[in-house]
């Protein structure tokens, strides 16, 4: 039998190696593999962490008492989910079409409407301007999008493998992200947020390449991706931008500070 890799040792430790008997026989005669396996076993045995707090026998009954009155109530989604619901493609397309219509109506009004009576001074409203609310919603959505993108990039850059590895899950994830990234990039560019648009533009190129790439990646492919991310400093810039956006999004609407982006 050939030597055991670290991954083989992990499977063996958890009793999931395909051929446990052969692995055991090899470990008995190969000192180097035995040492690797013992070191790994020792590390995994150390990963105990604090025990999960115990829940009493009556815990199930307590949970039931809390949820039972809510079983037949209509489902309410947490606000981030409801917010995310605002950003589905059909809604965004409708919103885009409406915005275009409004802009057209505005331009038409400027050019063709008869001269209006002198404007009457209007007292500023106490509530935040709709633009501020819209910007806030967009900031939160972009912040979440950057978090998700960061996770995909981190997953792929941290893959450490000797042979081809299945990245279909990450590829599917990247495909989902490309569509929203494009939308946010276009919106940022339209709003004059050039720094945000620039980072999103570079992020999109990487996401598109992952999304259109094969379902498996070789160690060389992963190395190339790591090089690309490091050369461009993209992972770091996505992280910094995400933090800045979250700071901006957490500022009170009533007294908005100028955006740092």
């Amino acid at each position: 039998m050939t030597h055991l890799t670290e991954d083989d040792c992990v499977l063996h430790y958890y009793g999931e190696a395909g051929d446990m008997k052969s692995a055991d026989a090899h470990l008995a005669e190969c000192e180097s593999c035995r040492r690797t396996f013992e070191e790994l076993s020792k590390a995994l045995r150390a990963v105990t962490g604090a025990d999960a707090p115990e829940r009493s026998e009556s815990y199930g009954a307590e949970v039931w008492a809390r949820i039972q009155p809510r079983l037949d109530a209509p489902e309410t989604q947490p606000w981030p989910r409801r917010l995310a619901g605002l950003f589905t493609w059909p809604r965004l397309a409708t919103a885009g079409a409406l915005a275009t219509l409004l802009m057209a109506a505005f331009v038409a009004g400027r050019h063709w409407a008869p001269p209006a009576a002198p404007p009457v001074p209007v007292r500023a409203a106490a509530t935040p301007a709709p633009t501020a609310v819209r910007e806030r919603i967009l900031l939160i959505a972009v912040g979440e999008h950057l978090d998700r993108s960061q996770m995909v990039l981190a997953e792929l850059s941290n893959l450490d493998t000797a042979g081809p590895v299945d990245i279909s899950a990450e590829r599917d994830w990247a495909r989902d992200l490309v569509a929203s990234n494009r939308l946010y990039r276009q919106t940022a560019a339209r709003d004059g947020k050039t720094a945000v648009a620039g980072v999103l533009d570079e992020l999109e190129r990487v996401l598109v390449d992952i999304a259109n790439g094969p379902a498996t990646a070789s160690p060389a492919d992963l190395e190339r991706l790591r090089d690309r991310l490091e050369t461009q400093g993209l992972a770091f810039r996505v992280k910094v931008l995400g933090s800045q956006i979250k700071n901006d999004a957490s500022r009170p609407l009533a007294a908005p500070a100028p955006s740092t982006l």
Binding site: V47, A50, A52, R55, Y59, G60, D147, L159
Partner: protein, 192 residues
Amino acid sequence: MDASDLAVVARVRAGDHDAFRHLVERHSRSVFRLAYRLTGREEDADDIVQETFLKAFRQLARFESRSSFATWLYRITVNCSHDLMRQRPRAGTRTSLDDPEHGASIQIADESAGADPMRELARRQIDERVRAAMSELSAQERSAFVMRHYEGLSIEEIGRVLDLRTSAAKHSIFRAVKKLRRSLEPVAGLES
């Protein structure tokens, strides 16, 4: 699939909503344990338990008996935990010695440590590193590792819970183990 779970599911689907209580009582503690391991916070885990069972009840029509009810419930638990962690990025499992919850667990450990404070100190350092390393894992890696290492699910079952191919579940565990080992290197030998 557990025949008694299947029978209860059938009763609930037939309109006997109170029968759902049996499923709640049977699985609450394991759902809590998984949620706690994934989030690292007791109050979050309690919230996730409730959310998981509410979702399970509302989506029971979608449950197919291809996997066990427990596996399906774990999937909902993992999704609820991921949702919560996404709302609180990078704060979920990270705990520190200033964390009152964590402090409480140390206090209990001190009382039980008895005569070997050095060993207890080493244990604390290792636990702290494990906690920090766990918070650096991706959601997928953490879920896969927790289910394999702490809950003893097979890699195949983990794949079903996370909706991944077995090879992808396996690689998530490999990556998690590598990262955990790397972070434990500086304290290797402390407990020997």
